[in-house]
Symmetry: C2
Amino acid sequence: MSPARPTIHDVAARAGMSKSLVALALSGSPKVSEKSRVRIEQAAAELGYRPNAAARSLSIRRSRTIGVLILDLHNPVFAEILDGVQTEVRQHGFSTMLVTGGENPDLELAEIETLREFQVEGLILISHRLPTDVLRSIAAEIPTVVVTRDDIVAPGMDTVSNDDVAGARLAIDHLVGLGHERIVYVSGGDNPVSHLRATGYAEAMTDHGLTEQIRIVPGGLTDATGYRAAETAVELDPTALFVANDIAAIGAIAAVENAGLRVPEDISVIGYDGISLGALRRINLTTIGQPLAELGRRAAERILHRIANSGIESNRDYLSAELRVRGTTGPAAITPS
Amino acid sequence: MSPARPTIHDVAARAGMSKSLVALALSGSPKVSEKSRVRIEQAAAELGYRPNAAARSLSIRRSRTIGVLILDLHNPVFAEILDGVQTEVRQHGFSTMLVTGGENPDLELAEIETLREFQVEGLILISHRLPTDVLRSIAAEIPTVVVTRDDIVAPGMDTVSNDDVAGARLAIDHLVGLGHERIVYVSGGDNPVSHLRATGYAEAMTDHGLTEQIRIVPGGLTDATGYRAAETAVELDPTALFVANDIAAIGAIAAVENAGLRVPEDISVIGYDGISLGALRRINLTTIGQPLAELGRRAAERILHRIANSGIESNRDYLSAELRVRGTTGPAAITPS
DNA sequence: CTGAAAGCGCTAACAA
DNA sequence: TTGTTAGCGCTTTCAG
């Protein structure tokens, strides 16, 4: 490749000064004469000098890098969270190192290992599936914050998530406000998030005196599972469907339409997450929007704070979601039950 | 944090051997007695030893890391390409360091700089917007491969892209095969990709004897721009729309439907890219699918090869796209022109 | 202000 | 087989 990258030593030689002076000047120390500084900066520029992060990291014993694990880049939710993380982290002079688990949970652990070999100073785990005990031992060794999960408490670890119970209640309140009573929850399968949303659904239904109407059909968090679950749900003759997440909701709408029913005239559908995709005119999905970028920003804030103050107490952040009314919900059809 | 990470030195002490022996054993060298190896591995495990990538990188003068720049994580196209990159790179024992440019082009350059400070051995640039001369100087210093752009040639750099002209022809062939003649191209704005697709459109139209019917309306690559452009396109009374990319196509469909026309009964719509989103049942978009993961895989292959063989000639890969017929295209309506 | 020297954790000769 | 030694490039005392 190229004929050996210039080092601080080369810069010093060219500027006719010592290595350490160059180091000082380059780190913006005030105890370098203006004249020297200019000479040095010029020499560095001429040589195309670029500091070696590995060497610095080794020397100062800090990498100024935080590791981010994302379950799956394809789900837009994660991309949006990541955005918030990067913005915040960058502002504090840190870099991020991103890895994705892919299909395989073992890989997920291996990737975290890689991150740690690179000496990241903290870990932001976004929707991973690591078991509690593994997580616990990781958090014991390195500052960690978990995003979108609050089912784990461990020393050394913070959580940043959305209040799913409250969000689900928002959805039901909205539907009930539109006159709906036969509201079915299309679940997202057996995972913490889906369970919490089910809880919110049930609580809100009860609050509205609709305990009798509580009906949950098992589903999943994907387009296909949402589609299939909605096929079942439709047979329950609902006027509205509350679906565990946006992607599944989009699948559910397809199923409703395929069954010869219109959305929202015959059946209203509301999702959860607030992915930007739902805003596409063609989709126009009413949903409970999480503050995704803010979730990421907060996570970054927490990890940075934890890095700076080791040993602080675990913190749990809950950001609130908001109702975003678009085109897939409307007044309940006036049909006999 | 934790009480100082164990180093190779600690492992040696615990195993009662020298540093270098440990290094050898840990790198799986055959010139270490079985007995010593076991002792060392045990000591390492007990201590929870984890090699320091920065130190290794400094010592061997290689980072075994490749840097990836992605324009925008929100566009699913890039996430899918990235998937291919990561899979391939990982298989060769390399790690990836991912950065995103965000809104600001200057940031993009700064991020590349960061990547280089971390001593990445090669750069994969996915849909960046760096000017040619900048790119040229980067490629002169570090192995680089550019994905989804083939408008740049520079020594030290490979390109991996899709044959947009051929792909566009596929789209037109498909539509003409369905009996369409009044086919409008909804462009993606002023960028290389969009221009190439326009070229393919025009060529194919001419080949089919439809030169007279060539009509291009200016648009963009987003949902909103696709929507607006399609509003204009509809006034041209077309039977089919070929839209520059999938996201814009989804916007276009909304516009068509809003104009009181049905897709595909009144107007067929075909997109380009093959994002997984288009496969959602609710969208069901006919499109020209690029082999996205394969694009990423190939890029990784190229960069790895270039890293191993410095100074090789520039290579240009063109992967072919394929027609994916789904529900937004159908026979041309039999209406008078 | 400036320069010399030690050391971060690891690898890679080179001896023993 | 093993142990010694000398850096990789950078930061950081600690004397001049």
